[in-house]
Amino acid sequence: MFPRITPRQVLAWAVLAALAPMLAPGLAAQDAEAQFRKSCMSCHTIGAGRKVGPDLKGLGQRRPHEWSTKFIQMPSAQLDGGDPTAAALLREFNGTRMPDLGVTAAEAQALVKLIDDITAAGKTLGTAAIARAATAADIRQGQQLFMGLTRFASGAPACLSCHSAQGLGGFGGGRLGPDLTGASGKLGVGLVSAIENPAFPTMQGVFQKTPLTAEEAFQVGSFIKSLAAQPPARTDMAFPVLGIVGLVSGMLLAGRLGRRRFRGLRRNLKPRA
């Protein structure tokens, strides 16, 4: 006969199954290119020109490996520690500081090696920023993309899914992410690259698979920049209010359709008795 399974055994196996993922070692080290795309590409390219920060092509010839590794790990240490190279870079890039990204020593070494490898192979990684000035057509098209009226070529969801901005109409934009009306003030020159290669964890899972083209990012960025002087959008209250209208309509409908259902039998019999 089959051995009898007791509920307690089922429970024990279930608990073991729950614990198993905790025992597994941390996620395998990401390869350097994925790391570069994730953490660096919103501001840097390798061989495709300057963006917010310098083009990293030939970094190995310009600076000692040790300096680069340390700088990638914690830029603030060198920027604030009076390192002459760091100070010169800061001046060259109009005072835009590279943020500390929490990169480990091993990851920084792998990134430096990746930059060397790509330089040696004569390849490029990343796309250059679009340098032209935004036209009215760019801004209009950016708004269309933001709202989803024109879909992104990759099929990525519209910005409005999670972000609001001033002047969208209707119930406005989403509230999962921040209101983007004043984003150009916060991100400055990095706005377009942040749209093109977002370093925000919520967006990465989505946009790594369905990235925006450089042109699309430029247009959306132009739209957001055009809003810079305006106040952020107010949270729209029509949505919850209309939801309550829907609730009341549903209750009226249920009362109407179901008025004969679930009426106590006794109630009908009693007056007759």
Partner: protein, 224 residues
């Protein structure tokens, strides 16, 4: 670590237990597969509780399942803001109906003397979890809109990654805690399914819609 435990380990426990215990319960206690209806004990407030709850929650649940199976279709639908607003508004109205329904059911269960007698501790747990699930869903729908869009882009791939046995909790890890608690209590509902009267969900009696008609004849004389 905590993310792995809550959003990888716990969902698997809930799913595995739900499947295994449902089967075991069906083999060991087939006659317990029931909603244990208390309609005989009280019908008037059951109407408002049960109708609103079931209509509301079935639409909301279908919406979640639709976005799980066809996330691309939801994104394509949402490509027009007006359509997105209509979808979200319908979902919100249905969720509010379900909320009113579950509150009515809870009030009934604790105020009606006869219904109270047949209430087990697990019924209380189940009602509390369902109330939390619906209320948190409404909160998320209003405060972290538009859920239909980011469910399709973040939650659906995460749920699929669980089913494909290659979990990607990082897809939902950065979401706000209110949203993640909604996921957790969702898994808790799945876990409670085979242990409570919620099991009736698996054996909804709808087969009579398409089976051949049965003629029931009362053949004892003098029974009028």
């Amino acid at each position: 670590m905590l993310t792995n435990f809550l959003f990888v380990g716990f969902p698997y426990v809930a799913l595995v237990l739900a499947i295994v215990v449902s089967i075991l319960r069906f083999t060991w206690r087939p006659f317990s597969y029931s909603s244990l209806s208390s309609q005989f004990l009280e019908t008037e407030s059951l109407f408002w509780g049960s109708s609103l709850w079931h209509w509301g929650i079935l639409w909301v649940l279908s919406g979640h399942l639709f976005a799980f199976f066809l996330p691309e279709a939801i994104l394509a639908w949402n490509a027009r803001p007006l359509r997105l607003y209509l979808l979200e508004l319908t979902g919100l109205s249905m969720a509010l109906l379900a909320l009113v329904g579950v509150v009515a059911l809870i009030v009934r269960r604790f105020t009606d003397r006869r219904v109270k007698v047949v209430t087990s501790p697990l019924d209380v747990v189940l009602l509390a979890v369902l109330l939390y699930q619906v209320a948190s869903g409404i909160d998320v729908a209003i405060r972290y809109r538009w859920g239909s869009a980011w469910f399709s882009t973040n939650a659906a791939p995460y749920l699929w990654s669980l089913l494909k046995l290659a979990p990607r909790p990082e897809l939902i890890a950065p979401l706000p805690w209110m949203v993640k608690l909604h996921f957790l209590s969702g898994f808790l509902v799945i876990l409670l399914l085979p242990f409570t009267r919620l099991v009736h969900f698996l054996v909804v009696p709808i087969f009579y819609y398409w089976r051949r008609p049965q003629v029931v004849i009362w053949n004892r004389k003098g029974l009028r």
